[in-house]
């Protein structure tokens, strides 16, 4: 394989192709959202142990000041995203439903006083450990949606050698274009961020995976890679959902299959999102902790869909209002894309580190759907990227056969939604599989405690 850009378009097996709706926002440049009056910062915005608050009601905080941390290894600190006073440390509505502990900061005055991290003069001469520590201090987690602490990902155990780093620029969900705009507007910074990450990992081979519906991004990345003298390979990928899922991306880019129940490091690969690379650059070169991100506010129920650069913890309502507000007849709002997004009932919830988009739809594709029994058509089997049999898994979950669920691979399901997307009977396959996973895990737990 040559090190320069490959023009062969790769893909993975199965998957689906929903309508893209990207032209609502991908042509226009992103714009920064003006500072919100108040922000709500949850104490847990990442996979791992939740943070403990380091501030209390009444404290004055600066932008970028650390306000929560945890001694656990798999965790990530949180920072204040605006300058102001802590109004409360209490439970507030969260996009995942219910209420969780959050730090509520209110702005006093129009200031934006930053507290930046102490950074090396030249990252290229710093050690791996120094850079990794900086990544942790900046509170960087995976911005593709999973929010896994990046410094943990960049320090895999010694017995799992890594030889490739893949940058995920696929953005396979419909409607979302923030990664696309980031690749066009922050090309150099993203590529430098990728180089920093590869230095921390000690890896020489880097691949950037981009779907071919972002031809301008592919061209921009290829051009800048040459100018910056980096030997990254830009891999164009067929437009298919869920190309952006880690396992599918590694399969398409390198032909390696992550073992069932395993992680990308098991096949010598680490995958990260382009926005995460940008955040790493900003932390290491500019000393900025992760306190803002780009997200796509879009959908046919938004007056003027745009990509906004917003501070963490900004309420959804503020972002939506900045894009002209909701039209009457809005039927659904979700965080993320339409295939895996979480529905929202309250627009007061804050933006998390994992929020890549707010999609507001007028015409729900789910209204007035008549449900039929499973007609064994097998379409779900033919699209499942993980090679599962969704119809059987859903039926096993429905009838309480949780041991069989495990045998049929329910824990391999990545909940991408391809199966329910195609089901002609409109069976809620993913929802049943989710129920099945929870119940199977409970049953496994019961058996363990009994033994």
């Amino acid at each position: 394989m040559s090190e320069s850009a490959s023009f062969q378009i790769s893909t993975f097996r199965r998957g689906v192709h929903p309508d893209e709706y990207k032209n609502l926002t991908c042509q226009h440049p992103s714009r920064p959202l003006q500072l919100p009056d108040e922000v709500f910062i949850p104490l847990q915005q990442h996979i791992g142990a939740p943070c403990e608050a380091l501030v209390q009601k009444g404290d004055q905080v600066k932008t970028g000041q650390k306000i929560g941390d945890s001694p656990a290894h798999v965790s990530s600190p949180i920072h204040a995203s605006i300058t102001g006073t802590v109004a409360a440390v209490a439970d507030f509505p969260h996009p995942l439903g219910g209420k969780v502990p959050m730090i509520h900061i209110k702005q006093d005055g129009e200031q934006d006083v930053w507290e930046i991290l102490s950074i090396p003069d030249n990252w290229e001469t710093s050690s791996k450990e120094e850079l990794a520590k900086l990544v942790r201090e900046a509170g960087i987690v995976g911005l593709g949606g999973a929010a896994f602490p990046t410094h943990v990902k960049l320090a895999p155990p010694v017995h799992k050698p890594i030889d490739h780093f893949i940058l995920n620029g696929c953005e396979c969900e419909p409607f979302l274009t923030c990664d696309h705009r980031n690749m066009l507007e922050q090309t150099d910074r993203i590529l430098t961020g990728m180089a920093i990450k590869m230095k921390i990992l000690g890896v020489e081979k880097g691949i950037v995976g981009i779907e071919v519906n972002k031809a301008d991004a592919i061209a921009a990345m290829e051009a800048r890679v040459k100018v910056l003298h980096l030997n990254f390979k830009i891999q164009p990928l067929k437009v298919k959902y869920p190309q952006g899922a880690e396992k599918m991306l590694i399969d398409a880019a390198l032909g390696r299959k992550v073992p069932a129940g395993g992680l990308p490091m098991d096949v010598g690969v680490v995958v990260n999102n382009v926005a995460t690379a940008l955040a790493v650059y900003e932390a290491v070169v500019e000393g900025k902790p992760l306190i803002q991100r780009m997200l796509t506010v879009t959908g046919d129920a938004i007056q003027s869909p745009t990509n906004l650069i917003a501070r963490m913890g900004t309420p959804f309502q503020v972002c939506v209002d900045a894009c002209g507000g909701l039209k009457d007849e809005t039927s659904q709002v979700f965080m993320g894309g339409p295939m895996m997004g979480l529905v929202q009932y309250d627009l007061q919830v804050p933006i998390l580190k994992a929020t890549s988009g707010i999609v507001c739809l007028q015409s729900s594709q789910l209204k007035n759907t008549r449900h039929y029994p499973c007609i064994q058509c097998g379409t779900c089997v033919s699209v499942c990227p993980m090679n599962l049999v969704p119809t059987r898994l859903s039926r096993l979950a429905e009838t309480g056969k949780y041991e069989d669920c495990q045998n049929w691979g329910i824990f391999n399901c990545i909940e991408c939604g391809s199966c329910a997307f195609v089901c002609p009977s409109s069976i809620p396959l993913v929802q049943w599989i989710r129920v099945g996973k929870v119940k199977s895990a409970e049953q496994q737990q019961k058996l363990k405690t009994r033994a």
Partner: protein, 356 residues
């Protein structure tokens, strides 16, 4: 999975006026309403929130559309006999379906097209001279026993139309094996009206038939099993639209061709040619429209190959060594019985599964 926001009842209430407001029952206070009161009621559902436009009725109506060429030719060749049988079968199926819906107390399922397909397919497997009463009986049996006794759409083990035909074959063996020439052929030099099918001719009288007749349909047989080209046109449409798994007709026809080819190769005088085997009888109709019935065929790719191959093998055995000249119905019904087992044992390996 879709539930209206509980606070939605509040905006609706403000629209009622005067007397009706007093009469209208106040909705119970939902304890969750304390948490939030959004201005706009939003639909809450589990992801995914997008869906293709395929629905069960859409699939069924596409199958019916694919059967149109064959049905038209049946009407052309057998005229009033075909009209009578097709109308009786379809209307009996629909009426039976409606009655079962009423008895079960469920919503009418007529519009999903599945009862219509069963009625139409059954009609296409019947001889043109079959009685209308028998047709109605078979159609009702197919719907009530073949489909609803097993639990309704999606739960039946056997192809309902074929089960209906098997019932009629057992109950009325002679009328079910009395064939006639198409009416168009009558204007040619043909003696009499009743005649054996090409398969029957070969098996019992060792007379071969012209292949062109098999392709265009100008031969005796059941209503639908005459023209291979018409069936192929509809069948290929379904394969392209992915409403039928291409592996089933491919493996079915291929295994018939290969197995019968082996026998023909060993003894060309005793056995018919593989091309004849593939084009004659109900195989084309069975391979493209009966074996591919989604509910009764396997869900996995490997399962589909096993299903088609098994059906082909059984078919050739019945045709060459069984008592009847035709066996598509039985070969498919027998493989239908294997489908649940095939589904269980052809679980595909998960992505990244390490073989034990």
């Amino acid at each position: 999975m879709t539930e209206k926001n509980p606070a939605q009842s509040q905006p609706e209430q403000t629209e009622t006026t005067g007397k009706s407001e007093k009469k209208a029952l106040k909705p119970k206070k939902d304890p969750r309403a304390k948490l939030y009161t959004p201005e706009i009621p939003l639909i809450l559902a589990s992801s995914p929130h997008f869906h293709t436009r395929d629905t069960v009725p859409r699939i069924m109506w596409n199958v019916i559309a694919a059967l149109v060429p064959t049905t038209v030719l049946a009407l052309v060749y057998f005229q009033w006999a075909a009209v009578g049988i097709i109308l009786t079968s379809v209307s009996s199926a629909l009426i039976a379906e409606m009655l079962v819906n009423k008895i079960k107390g469920e919503a009418l399922t007529l519009l999903d097209g599945s009862a219509l397909i069963t009625g139409l397919l059954l009609a296409l497997t019947l001889p043109p001279s079959f009685s209308l009463g028998g047709t109605a009986l078979g159609s009702v049996f197919a719907i009530v026993v073949g489909k609803h006794f097993f639990g309704g759409l999606g739960y039946n083990v056997f192809n309902p139309a074929l089960l209906g035909r098997a019932f009629l074959q057992a109950s009325f063996p002679v009328p079910m094996t009395t064939w006639s020439w198409p009416l168009t052929a009558r204007y040619a030099d043909v003696d009499g009206i009743t005649a054996a099918t090409p398969l029957g001719l070969f098996k019992f009288e060792h007379v071969t038939s012209e292949l062109s007749g098999l392709l265009t349909g100008n031969i005796s047989g059941s209503l639908g099993e005459t023209s291979a080209i018409a069936i192929l046109a509809g069948g290929l449409y379904l394969l392209v639209r992915k409403y039928a798994d291409w592996r089933i007709p491919s493996s079915f026809l291929l295994s018939v061709f290969i197995v019968s080819g082996i026998f023909w190769f060993i003894s060309p005088e005793t056995y018919p040619t593989p091309v004849f085997q593939v084009l004659s009888g109900g195989l084309m109709l069975g391979a493209f429209f009966m074996a591919t019935d989604m509910v009764t065929s396997p869900v996995t790719a490997r399962g589909a190959w096993i299903f088609g191959t098994g059906a082909g093998f059984i078919l050739v055995m019945i045709r060459l060594f069984g008592g009847l000249p035709e066996g598509v119905m039985y070969s498919i019904l027998l493989m239908n019985a294997f489908t649940p087992l095939i589904n269980r044992y052809t679980r595909p390996a998960f992505f990244g599964e390490i073989p034990a």
